[in-house]
Amino acid sequence: MLIRDQAHDIFAKLQRHSTADELELLIAGSRSALTRFANNTIHQNMEEESQHISVRVSFGGRTARATTNKYDDESLRRVVQSAEALAKVQRDDPDLLPMPTPQEVVQNAAEAGAAPVQRYFERTAALAPQDRAAAVARMVGVAQQHALTCAGFFSSSQVAEGIFNSRSVTDWHEQTLAEVSITMLDDTSSGWQKATSPDVTRLNPVRMAGIAAEKTIASRNPIELPPGKYTVVLEPSAVLDAVGFMFWDFGGSALLEQRSFLNDRIGTQLFGPNITVWDDVYHPLQAGVPFDGEGMKRHRVKLIEDGIVRAVTYARSSAQRMHHSEIANQVGPITPTGHGFSLPNEIGEAPMNLVFSGPEAGRAQSVEQMIAATERGILVTRLWYIREVDPYEKMLTGMTRDGTFLVENGRIRGGIRNFRFNESLIHMLQNVEAMGEPVRASGEESMDMVVPAMKVRDFNFTETTKF
């Protein structure tokens, strides 16, 4: 694995090859492995080791990037030359800032709310193919016990990544991550669970297999319900896969480019008063790098407070542009929040470590309590193939999948055929009737999040499929 001293040596070599005004190195080394199974059989099983050297150069208002995975001196010289060739021919961008200095990083970090993070666990890094296979065997055992078949994966990875710039900013982060996902299948039904953690001992594959099996068995022979507006109980994975689609709009660049659904809506009561959301990379249930693509420390940002959008995230340049824009007095606090992507890029910045606040003490409801308090509704395990239908109303479409149930008189009545939904996230987050305690959840459409289960009224299902 890459170590910090090696990375520093590579940066020194790159500097010797460079004629640019400024130079930045983003470097990463990783080892990842994934054991995949289906039909109760490990059918794909892989491991990868790789490096990543990404160099940005600047000449005044011109900047460009080149990337390689080769460490030899000739390759390092070529990657610098490639970046310089791309940068030199550009026109000047008056808004391109010089790279940050350590003083700027430190001063800005004072407002970050930073806390130490420990996200490297040797027991995750040390997992061998035999360990993963043994865990898969236990999950397959659960499937066989219930005469089901299962599919899924168990992965583990470790990554070391750092940033160095020619104005002496440096930072370094090491992390591990373990992931387990399982789908249990029967002839007419399926059930699913997924979880991730930097610490593999936080995952319980057998318990997940058991829950997925219970869902599969309980949703056998699904009945068809007519589409329409229903009260839904969304498990945390379903919530995160839907709401993840709106947070790409919580950036200064999105507002400046008028592509955000928050255009002209910041400071208004957009969501229900029970919705408060932070971006907080330092949260104990979060994972990820605590600095951004220029080396600025990530801030804790309260994005939504009691249903009102209070703030968005910024990179250094978008904060500067916002300060000088016509809407500067309409968008809340403007400061680089350490959420910029590596430059140059087309997105700008976005919150990547979302944490929903739970309800007031004693008001949180478990999924079981939400079901018990529902006269008629739908329990949704997960949502799938979600896409944006309308960018300003933040209307999404997608399907339910792997465990969709009719709830009547406080009890699960059985499985139903999957629905297609067309629902506005604004509307959905205005109609949250109950929430659970936020948990670290994982899905397939959005980044992992700390999010609660939600009970939502008038959720708009528009069609039914055939299973």
């Binding site: 021919v89 296979a133 008028q258 999948r401």
Partner: protein, 489 residues
């Protein structure tokens, strides 16, 4: 490079593998983009490494590294064998592979103008010219352009004796005008959305698309959409332009015919398929005029699914998928072909790069054009009442590929054979086989385009793959229109 790959084969044999394949990939990519007169992306990247797939103990193992030293390759191979032996501990199903005669070949995709030979200045000049032209319309609030080039060179050797060296050059370009006004954000794209058109061609693709000439109309339409009427909800005949039909093929034919999905291998992520094995040569997938092929051969055209050999050394083929409406074929690989009794793989096993295990992927999944001359304007003229929809805006389909919903950037009402008012937010939905059985007309070869989708996601860890889709505008009868906005008031 071949010598390095052979180190892997030697090590694999010594460690007891019954089959080993080594792929070395050397790839180069350039990404340029602009946004409202600024650089959005200016990036070059290169990546070189080796991926080694083995069978040991009757199971697969795969390992990849970018350390191409002898120690690095041998260590990586040893890990692949170790992984395969771990896989062997959980094998409820026997691994079977159909035979494939080992090929020895050299192939380079046709490319008239090497895109990396074109100066960066020239590329940026074109993108900025388009950007400025789009923003000449003051209603355009965001102009985005992008251009991408890729050179992908691969050496493949196997213990069975395969020795294949192929190089593919691909190019892509496109742009979009966004307009925010009131409570709406509208968008128009050219030549299609989400990055534009991609093919396995050189810079000649960029020159042929006449990017600048189309920019004023695209900008005007993006702004005009605000004043257009909402697409009505109901049952209508629809005509899809060829790019939207290409995506419709991708989602509702291309994915369900992947044999690994059918066999449950993707059940945890991408999903399964309604096309269970009993439906082969029995299911009426579409109407009589629906003819679809999976064609990776050079003769089909420069699609993103065009190659000489797939990533387990099987030659490119043309497979009839739907023949006069009848479902006739799957996309297969050496380990999935036995399930349908096929004597040979369909040649569809592809990997994103050196560091990914190859999996069953689409090649060029294309609908054949109509035999009789028919232009889009003639098709409109023969339509009494309907909606013409152009350029994809959103797409979604369930995990067995039955129920789909698509939104398009712009629609046009057709009344009595004439294109009338512009419609905003058009969408349509349906069930795959019902939809394809409702197709009653397709335009002829002159209207047929081989579209490229550069970013098809599948697999765990997820892999991105380029796929090709030839399509001509086509008409579908009695389709559910406008459901995306149903109940949104």
């Amino acid at each position: 490079m071949k010598e390095i790959a052979l180190w892997a084969l030697e090590t694999a044999k010594l460690r007891g593998a019954s089959l080993a394949e080594a792929r070395i990939v050397d790839e180069r990519h350039r990404a340029l983009a602009t946004k409202n007169g600024r650089i959005g992306s200016a990036a070059d990247s290169e990546s070189l490494g080796i991926g080694i797939r083995v069978i040991a103990g009757g199971a697969f193992g795969f390992a990849a590294t970018d350390d191409l030293s002898r120690d690095g390759v041998q260590g990586c191979t040893a890990r692949a064998v170790d992984i395969a032996k771990a896989s062997a501990a959980v094998q409820a199903q026997e691994l079977r592979m159909v035979a494939e005669p080992p090929a020895k070949a050299e192939w380079v995709s046709p490319c008239k103008i090497d895109p990396f030979s074109i100066s960066i200045e020239k590329n940026l000049e074109l993108l900025f010219a388009v950007d400025e032209e789009l923003r000449r319309n003051k209603g355009v609030t965001l102009a985005e352009t992008s251009m991408n080039f890729r050179r992908y060179e691969q050496w493949f050797v196997s213990t069975e004796g395969a020795d294949i060296h192929q190089t593919v050059v691909s190019s892509g370009v496109g742009y979009a005008a966004h307009s925010y006004q009131g409570t709406e954000i509208q968008k128009r794209s050219y030549p299609t959305s989400f990055g534009g058109q991609y093919q396995t061609r050189g810079y000649e693709l960029i020159e042929e698309l006449k990017l600048l000439e189309h920019a004023p109309e695209i900008a005007d339409q993006a702004v005009a959409l605000h004043a257009a009427d909402q697409c009505p909800e109901g049952t209508f005949d629809i005509i899809l332009d060829s790019s939207q039909l290409g995506l419709q093929i991708h989602e509702s034919i291309g994915h369900p015919i992947e044999l690994d999905r059918v066999l449950g291998m993707e059940a945890n992520f991408a999903g399964t398929s309604f096309l269970t094995l009993d439906k082969l040569r029995t299911l009426k997938y579409g109407s009589e005029i629906v003819n679809v092929v999976a064609d990776a051969t050079e003769a089909h055209g420069p699609g993103l699914g065009t190659f000489a050999y797939d990533d387990e050394g099987v030659a490119a083929q043309s497979t009839p998928i739907i023949s006069n409406g009848l479902f006739t074929g799957y996309l297969s690989s050496r380990d999935t072909a036995p399930a349908i009794g096929a004597p040979r793989s369909g040649g569809c096993l592809r990997a994103e790069s050196w560091n990914r295990l190859p999996i069953v992927r689409m090649t060029n999944i294309s609908i054949l054009p109509g035999d009789n001359p028919l232009t889009l304007e003639e098709l409109i003229a023969s339509t009494e009442l309907g909606v013409l929809m152009e350029t994809n805006r959103s797409w979604s389909i369930d995990d067995k590929r039955y129920n789909f919903q698509f939104g398009c950037e712009i629609g046009w009402e057709i009344v009595a054979g004439k294109r009338r008012r512009m419609l905003k937010n058009p969408s349509y939905s349906g069930i795959t086989t019902e939809f394809w059985n409702s197709m009653d007309a397709i335009c002829s070869r002159d209207e047929w385009t081989l579209w490229g989708i550069p970013n098809c996601g599948k697999g765990q860890p997820q892999q991105t793959m380029g796929t090709g889709h030839g399509a001509a505008p086509a008409r579908f009868r009695d389709v559910s229109v406008g459901t995306a906005y149903k109940g949104s008031e």
